[in-house]
Symmetry: C2
Subunit: 99 residues, 2 copies
């Protein structure tokens, strides 16, 4: 199983706004082939640090989604001002090797 | 839901050994109250970078497990030489805020 990890940073006073935006996400990705699940994690110590984790049966399906119109639509729903305040600190590509 | 993230580093030539150790883990944690699941992720770009992710209904249950005899037993099963080669780079405490 492939895991995509996006580490995001926002000013702490905008963290609630970003969490709210994730909670009302369009869920277009959920119907994509190979999609397993998506969670957003927030650091206990630093509320401005969030990690978006999506799991896929195979990395190719993730790449396919990233190039899709649905991904563009989902991203475009984010308020422009909030979007400008989000910094993508790190993007990681991993695979599940044990459980 | 609480998420514990342990970022581990091993020399790349010992990564397979660490993965094998995780695959034959004692699974004592699985029976603990509040335990949801555990996965080990390996970086695609850097095989020596691994993340152990465990999810719990509540952080208190995780803390309880960390102080338990079962955790000690599980840890003690790791080969001493391999254990000495593992560096815990970062420990993160997070909560699921959206999915």
């Amino acid at each position: 199983m492939y895991v995509s990890l996006s580490r995001l940073r926002v000013p702490p006073d905008r963290a609630d706004e970003l969490v709210a935006a994730f909670r009302r996400r369009a869920r277009l990705v959920d119907e994509f082939e190979g999609f397993v699940d998506l969670q957003v994690w927030q650091s206990d110590r630093d509320p401005g640090e969030l990690v978006m984790v999506s799991r896929w049966t195979d990395r190719e399906f993730f790449k396919h989604y990233m190039k899709s119109r649905e991904h563009e639509v989902s991203h475009d729903r984010i308020d422009a001002d909030l979007d400008a305040a989000i910094k993508l600190e790190r993007l990681e590509h991993m695979h599940v090797v044990a459980e």
